[in-house]
Structures are given as C-alpha cells and as structure tokens.
Amino acid sequence: MTAIPIPARVRGSVQQLLALASLIAILVFFSFASPYFFTPSNLVGILMAATVTGILALGTTFVIVSGGIDLSIGTGMILCGVMTGVFMTYWGWPAWAGVIGAILFGGLIGFINGFNVSVLGLPPFIATLGMMLVASGLSLVISGTKPIYFKEHPDFQLLMNYDVIPGARFPLGVLIFLVLTVVAAVVLSKTIVGRYAFSIGSNEAATALSGVNVVRWKLTIYTIAGLFVGIAGVLAASRLSSAQPVGGMGLELEAIAAVVIGGTSLQGGRGSIAGTVVGALIVAVLTNGLRVTAVPQEWQSVVVGCVILVAVYVDMLRRKAN
C-alpha cells in the first residue's frame, strides 16, 4: 500500500491559514479604499467591536463542536449584563463580586441549557430557543425595563476601556478577548473536555458506548459556553457603563456565523478556536470597513451577506483542493 500520509495536524493549520487569507484580502481592500481604515485607532475600534461577539463565539464554538447549538447567548448576555447591574447597583456588591457573580450567573444559564439538552434530552435548538425567550423577558422584568447605571462604580467602565499600554490606546477589553481566545484554544484542543466535545460531536452514541459520561460532559460544555456569555455580558455593560435590558436578539446568529465562517461544522466534530476568531474578525472588519468607506447603510447588509457567502465558498474550494 502506498500511503501518502498528510498528518491531520498539518492539514488543520493550513485550513486556518486559508481562512486568514480571506480576512487579509478584506483588510487590504479597505486599506486602499479609505485613508481612515488602516489607522491604529480604527483597528483598535474593530477589535473592540469584535470583542463581545467574539467572546460569545468562543464559548459557542464548544457547543457547536459537540454537535449542539446555543441560541440563548445573545439575550443571555443581556441578562448577565442586567445581573451585573443588580449585583453592583441594586445590591451594592463591590465591583469584583458583581463581575464574578454575573459570570457565574452566565454559567448558570449555560448549566440550565445543558440540563435541558443532556438530562431532559430536548433538542438543543428548542432548549436554547426557550432560554433565549426566557432570558429576554427576565432582563426586562428584573431591570424594570430601565437601563441600570453603575452610579456607585464610576470606574466599572474601565474594565472595557482602561488603556493597558500607557500612551497608546489599547483597551483592557480587547486584551481580555485575546486572553480568553488563548484560554479557549487550550481548553478546546488540549484538555479532556475539548476532546470529548469533538468526540460527542463526531458520534455521540459511540462516545457514550466508549464509556464516556456524555450527559456530564455536555452539561460541562454548555456551562462553559454560559461562562463566556457571562463575561461578554459584563464587558458589554462595562463598555456602555450601563446594563441595557433590551437587545441581544440576532447576536446569536452573528456569533454562530463567526463560528461557521471559521470552518467549524454545524454537524459537530470539527472546528477550531483560531477559525472562530478569524470568522469574528471577518465580520467585524467588513462592517467597519463599509462604514468607514461610507457605503450607504441600506447596502451594507447586502454586501456583508454576499461577502460571507463568497468567503465561505472560497474557503471550501481551497479545502477541497487540499
């Protein structure tokens, strides 16, 4: 037998490189199209815009790799933001406690999703759609349909905005995003929960037959996604220095789109954090670029839609060619 071994590792990283190529193409295009685009401050702006969706996408990558889906991340994030307000403003907790509380609250949302999916056996789409509705209602109920402001914590907005590099504008929020990316990448590719996420997404029944406690690990996976939702909620609240009780609907689709553009399969079993980040950046760069080049706003979603189609198609062709 003549085996032509292409190690899976090498093939994987080539793929990511290719997705990156699409991103770079878009970056180059807009750099020529507008003098305002390729400036440090605008690039940081893009990263800031990518932070919240990006963090949501990181968490949901775990869920999608395991063959599930999470539609509750958008409104769940809003609810976590509101909880930040409840803890810090209504209940007067110190900032650190409020932040941790809200993140854990996100974990709780994820845990409930995981419970509904793995213990009760509900289809992930329905389980998380239900949670999406519940979270969007609860945000309004809990906040009394008003934004909650961090009166007692004027510094809370620094969590997102603090300039980590003195002199240059590089906000802490973006740094947090980068750190979380590394953490997520390690967890997904180097730890047991990541391995089981791939295994469950690849063949859940076979994984269970192999003696893996699939119920427990799915709970863990959804809880991880929930923790990321919590972090995103806290950062969004910090950025706006207020907990906004509306919105979030549609954000789940944006985050899932980032994951899929990054090459993660909605069937489960295949995917990477690097891809997700590239996917999130493609969307953020595109949106920003169209604004900077002053494309009429009604055309922007047309262009974004087309570019997503083309980017994924090109990525697919290249993979096949490989």
Binding site: M1, T2, A3, P5, P7, A8, R9, V186, K190, T191, I192, G194, R195, F198, S199, G201, S202, N203, A205, A206, T207, A208, L209, S210, G211, V212, N213, G269, R270
Partner: protein
C-alpha cells in the same frame, strides 16, 4: 466454574421478541462461537452482556458472581470488552484518539498529552501487528481498517471476556488470519472469547464450542471438533440445507453490456479496463485497499474520475453522479451499509423503493403507496427479510436484514448492470445461498453483474470471470475454470518495487 454464564435472558422490542429465555456458558480459556440466522438475537444478547440494553429478565454471572452491567463503562470495568457489529467510532477523531477515548493520558491531570497518546497507540498497534497510523483520521479509513481500529480498541483493555460481533464481516482472508492470531494470543486460562460469525468455515479454525440460537431461543451447544458444518447449519435454520455446490459456469459469450476503458483517479486507480457481458458475473478480488471499492465509486460517479471512458450497450455515457449512472442502467450497492446503504430512520418500505421512486409515481407526482406496499411485501418475502412489517424502521432490523433490504432496493430498480460491493456482508449462511441463487437468476435474466467480495470462496463460486486488483490496477482477469485461491492471491500481491504493478 464457568467464566461467564447467562441464565434465562429475555428481551422484547415493540413488535419483536428478540430473546426468549436464552442460556449461554463461556468457559475459561475457550473461544465460543455464537451462531444463528439474521435476527436470531445474537447482537441483542451481547448488548445485554455489555450493559448497553437492559434485559427484561435473566441473570448474568462472571466467575460465578452475579453481576448486572449498568453501563458499557461498568461492563468494561468488570473486564468485558466488546466489538460491536456496527462500527462505533468517531470519524472526526484520529485512530489513537478513538482507541483511548475515555482513557487519555494526561499531564498533571489536566492537559492532554497527544505525544504519549500516539506513543501508546503505536506500541499497541505494533504489539498487535496492525498496519495503522495513530494520527490518521478514522473518517478517511476504509471500513476494513475501521474494523481493525475497533479490534485494537477492544484488545487495549485488560479484558477477561472479549465479545466479537462479526469482526470478520469486513475483512478478507489475510486480515482474518491476522485477527485469528490476535485471538489465539488473547486466550489464556483466565480469559475467553465469544465469537459471532456467519462464516462457517472460520468456526472450525478458531472456536472450541458452538452455541446456536434460533428465533431468539437457545437451541444447543456443540463441540466444534466433533460437529460438521451442515449439522450446525441445520440447527440454525431448523431444517437441512442442501448447500449444493454450483457447477463452475462456462465462459459467457453474450455481447458486452458495460465496458470500462482506462479509468484513472488521482489517488489510486491506474488505467483500469474491463468489460462485463450480458448474463455474466464478473468477480473482483484483491487485498484490502486494492482499489475495488474506489473503482466502483468512481465508475458510478460517487467520486471524481480523472480519466477513462465508460460504455454501456456500446454507447459511451458521461457519468458525473450516481443519478447519471442509474439512468445509464448501472446500480451500485455500497460496502458501507450504514453510511451509504440504508436510510436508518426510514421504513423498510421506503428503503426498498428508494432507487425506483419514479416508477411508483403518477403523472401528477403522487406516489402510489399501495403499489409500494405490495412491492415491499413481495421483496420482504422473497429475500426473507425478518421484520414485523414493511413499516418497521430499518434501524430496528438486525444487521443481516438491513443488508437484505439494500439488496432489495437494487432488485426493484431493475438495472442492466449491477455492481455489488460485498453483497453478503453480515448475511447468514442460509440467506447467503438465497442471495447466490438470486445473483445467478439475475445473470440468467441477462443482467451484467460485478461482484466485489473479500471472501475468495465466494468469488470463486459465483464468478464466470475474476478480475484481480492490486494497488489500483487490474493485475489479471481469470476465467473461473482456471482460477484458484492460490493463483488469485498471487496476482493480488503483484506489487512492484516502484509501487507500480508488473503484470
């Protein structure tokens, strides 16, 4: 004291009594064969033993101690390791990751060590003598190689009881011999093997005793040494089968129906040319990975061709997908039943007519359900598919009956050329004879048949001519009168130094 004992196991599914008060006894240091027709309940019994399904009644004893397996993991911990009839692998993970799933080596209890994992896998594979790469993705492997991974995984546990549910169904002679070597090494005075197979000639070679099930009931247990194959078969089917040996057919001289010239694929196939005549069965033999499946798939347009022509009834046809092939009158039955054969979640009825829907559809696009039902019932009877009704979901059928359903699908379609890739995989002896008879009948009706099989006796028995493949080339086309197992194996191993074939 026995190693493993089952007393009075019973199990029912909706509409089916799969096991009815079955006893089984596995002694220390023996290989026990478990045989029975398709749907006799063999796999079901093994699922009870290994904690996948709960029994409705019955008791299990391991070394005389009663046990109730709560989960596959629990059974594994007790020392019961199982190779399932249906492959249970994660296609997106590597060989190593599959073998050690749930037992990954870790650094500091937290991080996975891919290096240690691959090293351990390499050691295991070397010890077992299996030609696999730890880092290959399962999804890229053929069924046979996937089966080897299953075997490696089962043997990687320190099991006392090893259950093998038709491990050789996807293997050819060479690999079967490798497997038998592994089994012989595994058996010690403290261990035992339950071996399920439909290949009767294997039993004498590897097993010590034979337990027979029929219709979910225990029939008898025989000593292999003192029993004959016809004896076992008659116990299995409850009647005597005159396993008549088909006289080797003369060369068929009808006009060529299918002729393939210079077929070529980037990955493997090199200049493959052959033709099949009206009324002929052309057998394809070769080692695993010789390219027979790849040839069939490229031929019907399931995979990309990079060169070559296909002619049907003298007219060249352009085939870019299986629908084109079917329109040209070529049907392909895949070796990978689960992935490319059946619709597991649909009924037997839906599966049987899948390839011929337009025939059951009126001008307005309405489907004729009554006609479908009748046809399905006919074929269920004709192929003796064991199912409570034609509305039963295929996933609830036993493996062999699923295979019959796929065959029925192509019989209903009525193609001029039928390519059967491992058509008798997982089919019991009685049914095998029926399928052989069917193939003969089809050929006699004037169809041209390509039969790919890894069982040499089967190829020798059925074919008018035999094409032998090695490394993507046809190394010989033999008339069946000239062919023998030795000759075929000789041509099947004509590797050249440069990796090309000298013929």
């Amino acid at each position: 004291m026995t190693l493993l004992e089952v007393r009075g196991a019973s199990k029912s599914f909706p509409g089916v009594r799969a096991l009815d008060d079955v006893d089984l006894e596995l002694r220390h240091g023996e290989v026990l064969a478990l045989v029975g027709e398709n749907g006799a309940g063999k796999s079901t019994l093994m699922k009870l033993l290994s904690g996948i399904d709960r029994p409705d009644g019955g008791e299990f004893f391991l070394d005389g101690v009663q046990y109730t397996p709560a989960s596959p993991r629990h059974a594994q911990e007790l020392g019961i390791s199982i190779i399932h009839q249906e492959l249970n692998l994660m296609p997106d993970l590597t060989v190593a990751q599959n073998i050690f799933i749930g037992r990954e080596p870790r650094i500091g209890g937290l991080l996975l060590s891919e290096r240690a994992l691959n090293r351990r896998t390499r050691e295991l594979l070397d010890r077992l003598g299996l030609p696999l790469e730890p880092t290959d993705l399962i999804g890229d492997l053929t069924v046979a190689r996937q089966q080897m991974v299953e075997i490696a995984r089962a043997l990687s546990f320190n099991a006392r009881v090893l259950v093998m549910d038709e491990p050789t169904a996807a293997l050819n002679e060479v690999e079967v011999n490798t497997l038998f070597g592994l089994i012989r090494r595994f058996v010690t005075p403290t261990t035992g093997v339950i071996y399920i197979s439909h290949r009767m000639h294997e039993l004498a070679e590897i097993t010590d005793r034979i337990t027979v099930l029929r219709d979910g009931r225990y029939v008898d247990t025989l000593d292999t040494a003192s029993s004959t194959v016809p004896q076992v078969i008659s116990l299995m089917v409850g009647r005597t089968i005159t396993g008549e040996q088909r006289p080797r057919a003369a060369v068929v001289t009808g006009e060529p129906v299918l002729s393939v010239r210079g077929l070529h694929t980037k990955a493997l196939l090199r200049d493959v040319s052959f033709e099949v005549r009206r009324g002929e069965i052309l057998g394809f033999a070769g080692l695993m990975g010789a390219g027979r499946t790849e040839l069939a798939r490229a031929l019907v347009g399931a995979d990309r061709k990079d060169g070559g022509t296909v002619t049907v009834h003298g007219r060249e046809v352009a085939i870019s997908n299986p629908a084109d092939a079917a329109r040209a009158g070529i049907g392909y039955l895949s070796e990978d039943r689960k992935r490319y054969g059946v619709l597991l979640g649909r009924s037997v009825r839906d599966n049987v007519v899948l390839a011929s829907m337009p025939r059951f559809t009126s001008a307005f696009g309405l489907v004729a359900d009554r006609m479908i039902g009748k046809t399905a019932t006919d074929y269920v009877a004709k192929l003796r598919i064991r199912t409570p009704s034609t509305g039963q979901l295929v996933q609830n059928l036993s493996g062999g009956n699923q295979q019959k359903t796929v065959i029925a699908k192509w019989l209903v379609r009525d193609c001029d050329v039928l390519i059967f890739d491992e058509p008798t995989r997982g089919i019991d002896v009685g049914a095998k004879d029926e399928i052989y008879a069917l193939l003969d009948e089809l050929a006699a009706d004037g169809k041209a048949i390509v039969m790919i099989s890894s069982e040499l006796p089967e190829v020798l028995r059925m074919s008018h001519r035999i094409a032998v493949m090695c490394q993507g080339r046809i190394t010989a086309v033999l008339d069946s009168t000239d062919a023998s197992q030795e000759l075929i194996m000789d041509y099947a191993t004509r590797f050249s130094a440069q990796g090309t074939v000298t013929s």
